[in-house]
Symmetry: C2
């Protein structure tokens, strides 16, 4: 199948999205696309590599499509912006099964539709045997607001999180341990909490659905800093602390409440490790002036700590007053 | 070396560009970058894969960096826009030599500086052994003009080209034939035309410098359609013909004038084939109302034909009244 034939098959899949027209001045098919951008545009890129960022025995092409869109849209949201467009670059072994490519495309189209953000263009290249790399660029609109940076947290602010903590890392750990649900083929009252949690955590690892709506809501409410949790709460929270030259003092008891999601599936110790350092969660971490945390049931935020003055050891993140010993995920060191 | 360490080494290389500040609202280092975009933004992506789009025995990391920027900037130019920003996504085997990555970065920074277009962000992922994929996204500003599409050519327009024809394909053919200059170590008056041409054509194949300034100049002059020649003159000109529902009637004698570049290095037959179908040239092909071809010595355009009514066979490209039998390069079929 030639590039033209494959593109002719793939491009209409994006056009079927009900959002394909919104804000798109020139759609895919010319040398470049043109999207509306009133004053400025938020831009970010993130990619996934077969065998590194997903395993074919765990994730379908559809899962990969959902995830690569989700992690880009989360970066846009973490600036306080709404997503306005996506570009998709796929480098794939020409022997990649057509069904897999179609499935990937369907996942990307689904992710784009969920985020109300059209795919406006892309690029297809051939790659060596076995290789598939999917790189996505996302664009966003700040809707006239200033971007919410990592550097704006102020002493006296509260720290809040939107979305789950540690689910993606827990799902990965459960895959690696070959954990499988055994009761879900039984009548519903016999389903164990363990098995339901395994399914949910593995699903979130394969195809996360971060709370990207909470980003613009936070910006509107006056968030002073925000970050997407891609390398773990401790590491990404530490980035806000460093950029803002403050200490993020997180509440251990509140954070331990997040352990409920792992009941029966992970030991409390392993669950706690995932809450603090699990990567690829793409939940949002932000700081707000006290009393300004948004109260929107469609885009909820949970207070998990406060911003205090950096002590003699400099900017840092603490949990229950102590610097946690765990660190986060390094995508390159692997 | 960790991702953080490598990024700490790489990011300052872009910051040294004198253009790093122009139009950049939020520079690299947060969840996303923010660039100025007064009303709309042109977006495009194109990637290069080691072993497919370059060979390490021919191209350095610096060459790859120059080329991947050039092909993206050419797409922006082909809409009539000026480039305003680049995002770079690299998926690389962690064993890739650090020197190579630094060299690639220097090439990207050089390309960005040549195009007066800052690198505003990026992403680094690990890839399987031997794999390197460099995906770039480019942004552009139409400066208030409408985009120049492929679909606007009108009967009575003239067809013009900015830049070279067939050089990249010729350079590749010369590499594949293992052609080497033998006289260039002699005194200059003994250098053969063949050897100088081999060096120029192979250089252009490795690190092309397309005439991107000619894109906005064409738009300002009223170009009715424009495309970047990435798959060959015949194939890309055919795209304008199809989109515009016209015939592009090219002048064979004028086109044969481009054979001068291959003198002694390629046979006239092979040179002619490269003029018509050589890919990855990234020169610009456009149509203009008769009398409107821009006359800017800094961004020259050469008339190579005219737009005539499509005949009974429908939209097509002809050379000397005949449909050429060559076709262009298919990146995916390889």
């Amino acid at each position: 199948m030639s590039e033209s034939d494959l593109l002719a098959r793939i491009i209409p899949m994006f056009g079927e999205s009900p959002f394909a027209g919104a804000g798109v001045v020139v759609p895919p098919g010319d040398d470049a696309a043109v999207i509306e951008a009133p004053g400025s545009v938020v831009v970010t890129t993130d990619s996934m590599v077969r065998g590194r960022d997903w395993r074919d025995d765990w994730s379908s092409g559809h899962d990969v499509g959902i995830k690569v869109v989700a992690q880009n849209v989360a970066d846009v949201a973490a600036m306080g912006a709404v997503p306005t467009g996506l570009l998709v670059s796929v480098a794939a072994d020409p022997e990649t099964p057509l069904d897999w490519v179609i499935d990937l495309t369907a996942g990307i189209a689904q992710g784009a539709e969920d985020a109300e953000c059209p795919v406006v263009g892309g690029d297809l290249s051939s790659a060596p045997a076995g290789v598939v790399v999917v790189a996505v660029t996302a664009f966003g609109d700040l809707q006239g607001r200033p971007p919410v940076l990592r550097s704006g947290a102020r002493v006296g602010d509260v720290v809040a999180v939107a979305g789950s903590l540690g689910w993606s890392g827990a799902g990965l750990a459960l895959y690696e341990a070959d954990a499988r649900p055994t009761t879900l083929s039984l009548p519903p009252h016999e389903h164990t909490e363990r098995d339901k949690n395994i399914v949910v955590l593995q699903w979130y690892h394969r195809s996360p659905r971060p709370p990207w709506e909470s980003g613009p809501v936070a910006a509107l409410a006056g968030a002073t800093s925000m970050i997407d949790i891609s390398d773990g709460l401790v590491r990404d929270g530490g980035r806000i602390a460093t950029s803002s030259e403050v200490e993020l003092a997180l509440d251990e008891e509140v954070l331990r409440g997040y352990l409920y999601a792992f009941e029966g599936a992970l030991t409390p110790g392993e669950g706690w490790r995932q809450i603090l350092s699990g990567g690829e969660e793409h939940s949002l971490l932000a700081t707000f002036p006290s009393g300004s945390v948004p109260d929107d049931p469609e885009a909820p935020w949970t207070v998990i700590g406060e911003v205090v003055e950096a002590g003699p050891d400099g900017p840092r993140l603490t949990v229950g007053g102590v610097v946690p010993s765990v660190t986060g995920w390094d995508h390159f060191a692997g």
